[in-house]
Symmetry: C2
Subunit: 335 residues, 2 copies
């Protein structure tokens, strides 16, 4: 058995758990975005026939789980654990999906970093032979997030240019020690960093320090540099956050150049009016389980480092004057 | 290496991760409760000098983490992961504590089952040699929970007799492969069950089916029965929920008798006016990391099964007519 820990924060998987299946689903705005062609299932009504955006989000998440399972020969009974998290209070999208799936459930919360927290924990559980197969999923919904974190959209509050647009969608993956697919070879779980940003309209800046910290720790732990990866993907820093991220990483001695892509900054087209870019748990999730996985199957990428970022705050903590802390988790996926 | 999975849902730890340290902290109502003498640090002011109950809860959680670390020879730098969760929206108590601790963070959400979800994941990570030591912690606060889930206490809403009282406190444990202490030998992660209970004033009943399911699955997976344990502890079913739980378990063929104790039903004295008993993440946590661990060191218990229960809902899901689902996770601790 090789060493399972590398450096301070990185875990190395020698059994190389694989993403044997993945599924993505998203709404109409995402359909016409730069990621549209990478998303498996596009819905024309972001409410998917439900009366509330919270119930719509749950339906998207459950559908993504069903779609990911349908691509395998496995059923719910073959999946040992369901690992899920989302932005809604008490992660209700994930909890109710877990109820409907009937699979033993580990609820997680890493804000928009949830997909990588989940894939990292899932890979660890499969690598350690504690499960043969796990299902990992996350979701977000523009309307549900807006009214929980900011204002109901009915109020027609004008967005600031630094605002990010919560992606409406969900993504799920089956991670297993049996079957074919890209391997998850490493995970770097991140620390919570806080640079004192207080505006929930500027979350990219709040998450950038954590993303830079996790990336630099990963490079140090694994003795790698940007040249060792075909792509370094960050989650949802957006156009403002990614500039700060690139600068922090450069100050630490690493030049990312064209190796770096931020899903938040990339997803929406300028004419879509999404401010500083996309955000929400589905943002990183669609980037990793949609874009990256599909491009890996096309042979474009062979080894990527995906770092999903999360802003850790609540409307209550914001109202009480707390700053917004950030977290970022990274995984290496090899095709 | 022995088999790591047993039956459908149970995981067996052959490296036997140990709880090398634990710390508990609680407020004045808990000080005069039946668990008072088992709690390490009792605060006389449940606001611990803070202006809001949310900030007070965070302070309790952080203090428990510091106390658990202080009982070891380890510092924050020796702890590979901090696993934490709580009831507050976006688990802000845990997130901000993670920021102040500076330890890589895995946020979890299992409502009041969080301590066992965390200890189970932590044990797995240590057992698999993915970390030498992890810190697991959770917290809850009466005032913070009341105003988030029900009404601000200033409104002086009359409690129903089926209401449970959120425990104000926090608990933390260091789980490691080095050092002395009770071993975590098995974990049974639970499914989400929903019997259609809709009242947030009757959470014990909502959680009882999940607790019974996890217990029966555990017995089946491990081929054990109540006689194999010195104590079967449930989290916070309270006086109403525990009756339903005992009945469901009996219908499944197991008589628990005096082997069973529910922390929620046990913690408060009748004259403390706590309705159907205690609840909140700190309820199970004080029961396991306070009562159980201390009684194990006294030689009273040698092998216990601790099942923490969680009610999965949010005020929004309740207002939208959803029923309250329940989850329960179990671990075996051997002294």
């Amino acid at each position: 058995m090789t060493q399972k820990r590398q450096g301070l924060q990185t875990i190395s998987f020698d059994q190389s758990p694989r993403i044997i299946s993945s599924a993505t689903i998203a709404g109409p705005k995402e359909a016409s975005s730069n990621l549209g062609s990478y998303i498996d299932r596009l819905v024309t009504d972001s409410m998917v026939g439900e009366q509330t955006p919270e119930k719509a989000e749950r339906k998207l998440l459950y559908q993504a789980c069903q779609d990911a399972l349908a691509k395998t020969k496995l059923t719910e009974k073959d999946i040992h654990l369901f690992i899920g998290g989302d932005l809604l209070n008490q992660i209700i999208s994930s909890s109710y999906s877990a109820r409907d799936l009937g699979i033993p459930f580990l609820g997680i919360y890493g804000a928009c970093s949830s997909i990588v927290e989940g894939l990292g924990i899932g890979a660890l559980i499969v690598d350690g032979s504690y499960a043969n197969a796990v299902l990992v999923a996350t979701s977000s919904h523009y309307q549900a997030s807006e009214r929980q974190f900011r204002y109901p959209i009915e109020l027609n509050i004008q967005h600031k240019s630094s605002n990010q647009w919560t992606v409406t969608g969900a993504a799920a993956a089956v991670v297993s020690n049996q079957g074919e697919g890209p391997r998850i070879t490493k995970a770097t779980f991140g620390r919570v960093l806080d640079y004192g940003i207080k505006s929930p309209n500027d979350m990219g800046a709040a998450m950038a320090p954590a993303a830079a910290d996790t990336l630099c720790r990963h490079f140090q732990d694994t003795n790698t540099s940007p040249g060792d990866y075909d792509l370094i993907l960050t989650g949802d820093l957006g156009s403002i956050g990614q500039k700060l991220f690139v600068r922090l990483v450069k100050e630490a001695g690493h030049t990312l150049g064209t190796k770096h892509m931020d899903v938040g900054a990339y997803i929406y087209k300028p004419e879509q009016g999404a401010g500083a870019g996309g955000s929400g748990c589905a943002c990183s999730a669609l980037g990793i389980l949609g874009y990256v996985i599909k491009e890996m199957y096309q042979g474009r990428y062979h080894r990527i480092l995906a770092i999903a970022t999360g802003a850790l705050f609540s409307p209550v903590s914001y109202q009480q004057g707390d700053s917004i802390a950030g977290i970022a988790h990274g995984i290496v996926i090899e095709g």
